[in-house]
Amino acid sequence: MSRIIRISLSLRMVVACLAILMVLVLAGTLYQVEYGLYAAQQKYFYSWFVLLFGFIPFPGTQLTLSVLFINLTASMLFHFRLGWRQAGIVLIHLGLMLLLTGGWVTHQFGEESFLSLTEGEASNVSSDYREWEISVAKTRDPDREVVGIDLRSLHAGTTFVVEGTGIEVEVEEQYAHCRAFRAEKEADAEPLLNVSGIAELKAAPENRDPEANIPGLVLRVKRGGTSAGLLLFGGDMLETELPGADGPCYFSLRRKRYPLPVSVRLLDFERTVHPGSSTPKSFSSQVELGPVEREVTIEMNKPLRIKGYTFFQASFQNLESGAELSTFAVTRNYGRLIPYIATGVTVAGLAYHFIAVLVLAAPGRKAAA
């Protein structure tokens, strides 16, 4: 047993881990060409185990980094001695431990979402890139309360009761990505309720980038003795109205929302190009923050940081209506400064070690002096 521990804490283990990491990084990078960044992250970089070429079991990045972290901790405790000669080495490895910790904190607790606004539009919620929810509300008022049901908790056959409406729901069909079709002819079957007149969903192959998937649901809703089929489609802009216990309820399927600490109104989006070319020069959005009104400009390389959230100019789109749609990436990160500090510590250690050990103490130098 102690032998296993000794091996796992040895320099040999470090070299093995570094080699494994190189294989993972290379494989994960090549994988992106075919399957996209998100899939590569999930398969290679956020996993404990991975099958290389589909059949060779291999440690994943999470496992390798964990072993390295344990190894680093152990060498801190047992191998390194405090002293001027080793001070650089100790700093390097302390910094790396901090870096790995920072990465772990961000990965575990960070939130990433986005906010798309047309000029003039305001919002105080951001949307998830990939997760969806059923939203049920009792009014159409913009400041209404909404019940959200996470799509990840549902699968065909799940039943639940929507709080405060007395409506019982059973999931009949669920699609991760689908296309919507109207009824081609008078259907014999009982028509499904849908505000846009969608009659049928057909499964479509999932996209390489899960952000582009548009999910759909066919539900059976029951209240009192009556029951009806309800069709919800992620691409539907409108909400489907159903009678609830006390007045109507509005159902829709939308990207999961997160409340923001401020409301953001897009005043103006501006894109400039270098004159006489189509090379973009800058993208910037002028926004007004609420409730205390304040104007700020969010530009590429100049994000807005407020109350633990950061807003970045991510992309823009010219809508068919002629309006401009500006999209911000919104992140909430707890360990944002950790990698900064870690980098400083490690680089200081590297520089110290390089100068103290490799240059000043080089044998050729001594001989010359």
């Binding site: 990084v25 590429m300 490690t346 390089f354 080089a362």
Partner: protein, 633 residues
């Protein structure tokens, strides 16, 4: 052919400057004033000198034309100013044989085709390219991309040809009616006139044509009919040539930068007397060029240049024009490359035969080349107003510079000639590769929005490229070390010094690679909201850090010998290249910043060569070591 090549090589050692003397066809006039005239191309104001090279490169993949190596500026002047420029310049590079076949033209070995060759296939080319354009960008094959590119070039060439037609006499503008000539203040008879001559006197035509509105056509006098004809012809021509993309006339209305082609300037600013003067100066340039009138051309070009520089809202850009012309003329980076080349041969001789005087000569040569190299980079920085590295081409210049400096530092410490040898070789190879494979039409093009941050360009980019330089340099020393082991066994002190230099370079590379990678994370955190995202470029940089760290740990644990370490450094070159270029090969990810065709071939050739080198030298060096130890014992 063989003789030519031989004679060219034979001249090389004689002098760096001589190789640049080759000139093709002499232009009929002196192009010096024309050279400095400003033009807006791809969002950057540049002198005609640079523009000509950029365009010629865009068309033909070369900066000089044909076998005669005609300078780009002379070709451009010919294309702009002559009415029917020689249609058989080997101008258009068509890379894909299928495109040549589809157009029904005779394939040529050098893959460059003249306008007259393409002329009969233009309709076909337009049709095929039109179809390719309608496809979604990601779905286009190489053939379709090539069709679009070639069509774009031919269309642009036609624009160049029509740019100065306003100053060329044409039968359309012969004024037959004598009274009308008098009314328009035109001297002479009914000869062909240029658009501009008639257009400037067109005010009277407008009045006449307006009055004709009520009059039935049969009652028009000859004078009126001629006025109507001229007005329609003028209108038709200005419509035909409006919106040309070649814009070199600054009008800068309210301090904004607006540039027009002469045709658009004619129709928009006809009442501005300064603009009229400028346009007739341009016309005079074309006329003087065709008449081989040196003095007239020079005067007109100077007058126009003075106007244009007065009108430019951005005065810094005006200053840079002269700087850029000087930089083009000095051609410092090419010269530095040749200097390093000569230095390399001398230092190789010095290193092998331990010639002290030769060593001193090579050191001086490296220092002179370094000065030219650094000044060349300095010119680029001054012209662009940016830190040294903004595109793939510039990375090679900068990595080369750092490698040379590392070599000189090594020389200062060890004084063994090894540093000069490594300096000159890395300077030569990196500048050569940059000039040969990574030159684009314009190597100082504007940066896209996400890169528009001098702070990050000067921290992250500098650090990461310095890291590349350290690791490449370590790889270079690794080669030398392995060769020393084979050819000079027994000289332990010599080899120990080489090994130490290698370790130092690798450590240097590791520090800057790590710093650069992390600064990249900081930049990413600032512009995309995440420190690390496993993006290909980030992964590439990480690979360098991992490989160097792996080597150091393996060495520390006694897992590899000095030989193994040297082999590791040599293989590290592959890792650096994968990070540096591999991403451009993958063509995926957020910030691939350049792609050059043929890159894949070159990359894999180097990978194969390095693997082969290690595969051959390491076992031989090992056997030598054993033999030496045995014989020593």
């Amino acid at each position: 052919m063989t003789r030519r090549r031989f004679s060219r090589w034979a001249w090389v050692p004689l002098g760096v400057g001589l190789a640049f003397g080759a000139a093709g066809q002499e232009p009929p006039v002196d192009l010096e004033a024309f050279r400095r005239i400003a033009i807006l191309y791809e969002g950057r104001v540049m002198p005609m000198d640079s523009y000509a090279q950029a365009i010629l490169f865009q068309f033909s993949g070369k900066k000089r034309l044909g076998e005669a190596k005609e300078p780009a500026l002379s070709w451009l002047a010919r294309t702009l100013f002559t009415v029917d420029p020689k249609g058989d310049d080997p101008l258009f590079l068509i890379n894909h044989p299928e495109v040549v076949e589809a157009l029904g033209i005779e394939p040529r070995k050098r893959r460059r085709y003249s306008f007259s060759e393409l002329h009969n296939s233009l309709a076909k080319l337009q049709e095929l390219a039109g179809r390719a354009v309608q496809m979604e960008e990601g779905n286009r094959s190489h053939v379709e991309k090539e069709l679009i590119r070639v069509f774009g070039n031919v269309a642009y060439f036609l624009q160049l040809q029509s740019l100065f037609l306003f100053a060329v006499p044409h039968a359309d503008f012969a004024v037959a009616d004598e009274t009308l000539r008098k009314e328009m203040h035109l001297d002479g008879g009914d000869e062909s006139r240029a658009f501009i001559d008639v257009f400037f006197e067109a005010g009277i035509l407008q009045q006449k044509v307006q009055a004709l509105g009520q009059k039935p056509k049969e009652e028009w006098s000859a004078n009126e009919a001629e006025a109507f004809r001229l007005a329609s012809v003028l209108f038709a021509w200005s419509r035909q040539y409006r919106d040309l993309q070649v814009t070199f006339m600054p009008i800068d209305p309210h301090g904004e930068s607006v540039w027009l082609s002469p045709w658009d300037a004619l129709s928009i600013n006809v009442h501005d007397p300064e603009m009229r003067k400028a346009l007739s100066d341009l016309g005079d340039m074309a006329t003087a060029y065709r008449a081989s009138a040196r003095l007239e051309f020079d005067l007109a070009a100077r007058a126009y240049r003075a106007f244009a520089e007065r009108r430019m809202s951005n005065q810094a850009a005006r200053h840079n024009l002269g700087l850029e012309v000087t930089a083009n003329r000095l051609n410092l980076l090419s010269r530095a490359g040749w200097g390093y080349g000569v230095a390399f041969f001398v230092s190789l001789l010095a290193f092998l035969f331990e010639g002290r005087r030769l060593a001193r000569v090579s050191l001086v040569l490296v220092l002179v080349s370094l000065a030219a190299h650094a000044a060349g980079i300095g010119f680029r920085m001054a012209i662009m107003g940016r830190p040294p590295v903004t595109n793939l081409y510039a990375t090679f210049l900068f990595v080369g510079l750092i490698c040379v400096l590392l070599g000189l530092f090594l020389e200062a410490v060890q004084r063994s000639g090894l540093g000069v040898l490594a300096s000159s070789f890395s300077g030569l190879s990196l500048l050569l590769v940059a000039q040969r494979f990574f030159v684009e039409g314009d190597t100082m093009h504007q940066v896209v929005a996400v890169l528009d941050s001098n702070f990050w360009l000067s921290t992250h980019v500098i650090a990461i490229t310095t890291g590349y330089a350290g690791c490449i340099f370590a790889g270079l020393i690794g080669h030398i070390y392995l060769l020393q082991r084979i050819f000079g066994p027994g000289r332990e002190g010599w080899m120990a010094a080489t090994h130490r230099a290698m370790i130092g370079a690798l450590a240097f590379g590791l520090i800057f690679s790590f710093l650069g990678t992390m600064l990249g994370g900081v930049w990413a955190d600032h512009s995309w909201g995440r420190f690390w995202g496993w993006d290909p470029k980030e992964n590439g940089a990480l690979l360098i850090v991992l490989w160097s760290a792996l080597l150091f740990h393996a060495r520390m644990g006694g897992m590899i010998s000095e030989r193994g370490m040297a082999a590791g450094c040599v293989l590290g070159v592959i890792v650096v290249l994968a990070a540096w270029l591999g991403v451009n090969l993958l063509n995926a990810g957020l910030h691939s910043y350049g792609f050059t065709t043929g890159l894949a071939g070159g990359f894999f050739a180097i990978v194969a060569a390095e693997v082969l080198f290690v595969g051959i030298t390491v076992p031989i060096a090992g056997r030598r070591e054993i033999k030496h130890v045995a014989s020593g014992a």
